[in-house]
């Protein structure tokens, strides 16, 4: 351990593991440590015994739930957009070869008290009970505009400069009502609040295209995919990448104290009396609590059930987005369900999550509208955690701290943080121009 490294990474959460892998591939000498004796940090997946230890204070889950090791319960549940940035990173790094994926069965949106399938293109818009007959036609026209829109081909722009026109103005041109705007903005473009309405429309149009292209990719009922055995596999896969390229791994290292020189620049990390020198430190907020500030809280309910989420077409894996406006909130609520079909629970069992950014002092009760959609549960756990973001200046102290995971049930914001950190650390932009059009999913 008493060697000199280019980078010491602390914490084996997904963000830290992706960075560790990318930096090792770049030829940097990386030491990666975690205070826990398992991979994944906050983004790990727990078996039943670990789940009971964490939330019930003992390790005796009831026997009727089945074998502990059949469970992989994500602590940060998220789905991957099939054509999204995380998939690009996986293909770019070839970490895909360690993982198996399955498409997610369904993508739904909560609207006027009911759960509806998200219509993602012009054909589905015509069939959706979300809209009345005239609205359907207007929505169809809008979907066709988005599908045909090509940034590099002005003919498809219909005279609109989407870098200037706001989303609100674009939508007004198609005369869509607030209800339609709500599901398009939140369940297709995956905006977390309504600020996008006053921002240039290009971002929203790109997000809608990502959704429909991802949906077309695997002929599943949703644009999402999810790894077999749960998300805990992802940090492990990237950690393996890092190790394959020379990264050194040490789990179960208590303390991990970051050391600084007089100027406040990082010089190394001490654990168990040994100090490893380094030029840079990459870590999650828990390793440098003096360099982060609290920016919010996430409230989450975790339920073990014996049925899928009601009104989701029997989907064995599904996302339901509850847009803020539908609940009178400032930010969206998310339902996430996966099951034995993704090997995260024994046969017949489902794991459902309700997540939201806490907006009150009683976050548990905020989750009620989401929990009410689950139907009866076998067991339910509540988890509330603080979200942090870095406040340091990395050019002065050489510390690169990730932002805590948010309440969304997809990875788009997660990977954005990773890519920004990569650029801060290396001065380079990661080239993710992998050939997605040629990419396919091979049935093994």
């Amino acid at each position: 351990m008493d060697e000199e490294y280019d980078v010491i990474v602390l914490g084996t959460g997904l963000k830290e593991c992706i960075l560790s892998g990318l930096l090792s591939v770049d030829g940097l000498k990386v030491l990666h440590m975690d205070r826990n004796d398992y991979y994944g940090g906050e983004s790990t997946s727990l078996n039943l015994i670990q789940l009971w230890k964490r939330f019930r204070g003992d390790d005796k889950p009831p026997p009727h739930l089945g074998s502990s090791r059949d469970y992989n319960v994500d602590m940060i549940p998220k789905f991957m957009m099939a054509n999204g940035t995380l998939v690009r990173v996986l293909i770019h790094t070839d970490v895909t070869k360690y993982l198996y994926f399955k498409a997610v069965d369904g993508s739904f949106v909560f609207n006027k008290g009911k759960v509806h399938k998200v219509p993602a293109n012009d054909m589905e818009a015509l069939k959706s009970p979300l809209m009345g007959i005239f609205e359907k036609r207007r929505a169809r026209k809008f979907f066709i505009y988005v599908q045909d829109y090509d940034e590099s081909d002005p003919k498809t722009h219909e005279g609109l400069d989407l870098t200037r026109v706001t989303t609100r103005e674009l939508i007004a041109k198609y005369g869509l009502d607030d209800n339609t705007v709500d599901f398009i903005g939140h369940a297709i473009a995956l905006h977390r609040d309504d600020r996008y309405l006053n921002e240039p429309a290009l971002d929203t149009v790109k997000r809608m295209k990502l959704y429909s292209e991802s949906l077309a990719r695997f002929q599943g009922g949703s644009p999402y995919i999810y790894p077999l055995y749960g998300l805990g596999e992802l940090p492990q896969g990237f950690a393996r990448l890092s190790a394959v390229y020379g990264g050194t791994y040490m789990l179960n290292k208590p303390e991990c104290k970051v050391e600084f020189d007089e100027e406040g620049k990082v010089v190394g990390v001490t654990s168990e009396g040994e100090t490893a020198k380094c030029k840079k430190v990459v870590c999650d907020p828990s390793y440098l609590p003096n360099k982060v500030r609290k920016v919010g809280r996430v409230a989450r309910a975790i339920a073990i059930m014996s049925h899928p989420i009601p009104n989701t077409n029997d989907s064995h894996s599904a996302q339901v987005i509850l847009p803020q406006k539908q609940l009178g909130r400032k930010s969206d609520m998310y339902l996430f369900c996966c099951s034995y079909s993704h090997n995260v629970a024994p046969k017949g069992k489902f794991i459902a999550f309700v997540s939201a950014e806490a907006e009150t002092d009683n976050p548990q009760s905020e989750l009620k509208p989401g929990i009410d959609l689950l139907g009866p549960v076998d067991e339910i756990f509540y988890d509330i955690y603080d979200r942090y973001e870095p406040v340091n200046e990395p050019t002065l102290d050489n510390c690169f701290i990730s932002t805590s995971y948010d309440a969304t049930t997809h990875f788009e914001s997660t990977v954005l943080d990773v890519l920004n950190m990569y650029t801060l650390i290396t001065g380079k932009v990661l080239d993710l121009s992998v050939d997605l059009s040629a990419a396919s999913a091979a049935e093994e």
């Binding site: 070839d94 994926f101 790894p227 055995y229 390229y245 791994y249 040490m250 049935e443």
Partner: protein, 201 residues
């Protein structure tokens, strides 16, 4: 299914375990590429190989996982063991400690791995007879007691190297319902076979 005629293709994940320096990577390199390097560096850049063997009426495609050095500080991820159909636990016959540690790896495997796994114990560096510290008899008795099959190998001379893999291939259960996940692998080329051959350079 095992006995039925016709073409049987089996995919089997095989993991290597054992102490640093026991010769895990050398065994694979010998088996996959027929090479041996006297001063093989610690595994960097390549820790994923595949090799196909024909055994009786079946072909077995091994996906071989090397530890990539993660064994050094006991940081192998559960993913490493996941779905493995076979394991080779390697020790160095000139190093008694490495044999003691091999027994620890057997325990670890019994804890993490699937119970039907085919496990081989390989006493490597068998060409260094004059430096031997672990007798073949001692290892054979231990292997028998623990349901492993045992061979002494030399990656340097190639002695018994192919034999270990052939023996595993023969012992693999022909039907492996639970071991092959039904999921898909994302590949960057549509053609099948992009996962084949060695790995990154």
């Amino acid at each position: 299914m095992a006995a039925t005629a016709g073409h049987n293709n089996l995919n089997a994940k095989l993991v290597l375990l054992g102490d640093m320096g026991a010769g895990k990577s050398s065994l694979v390199l010998r088996f996959v590429k027929g090479q041996f390097l006297e001063f093989q560096e610690s595994t960097i850049g390549a820790a994923f190989f595949s090799q196909t063997l024909a055994v009786n009426d079946a072909t077995v495609k091994f996906e071989i996982w090397d530890t990539a050095g993660q064994e050094r500080y006991h940081s192998l991820a559960p993913m490493y063991y996941r779905g493995a159909a076979a394991a080779i636990i390697v020790y160095d016959i000139t190093n008694a400690d490495s044999f003691t540690r091999a027994k620890k790896w057997v325990q670890e495997l019994q804890k993490q791995g699937n119970p039907n796994m085919v496990v081989a114990l390989a006493g490597n560096k068998a060409d260094l007879e004059d430096k031997r510290k672990v007798t073949a008899e001692e290892a054979r008795v231990y292997a028998e007691e623990n349901g492993l099959f045992f061979m002494e190998t030399s990656a340097k001379t190639a002695a018994n190297v192919n034999d270990v893999f052939y023996e595993i291939a023969k012992r693999l259960p022909r039907a492996q319902p639970a071991q092959k996940p039904a999921g898909m692998v994302l590949v960057d080329r549509p053609a099948e076979g992009s996962r084949a051959a060695s790995c990154c350079s």
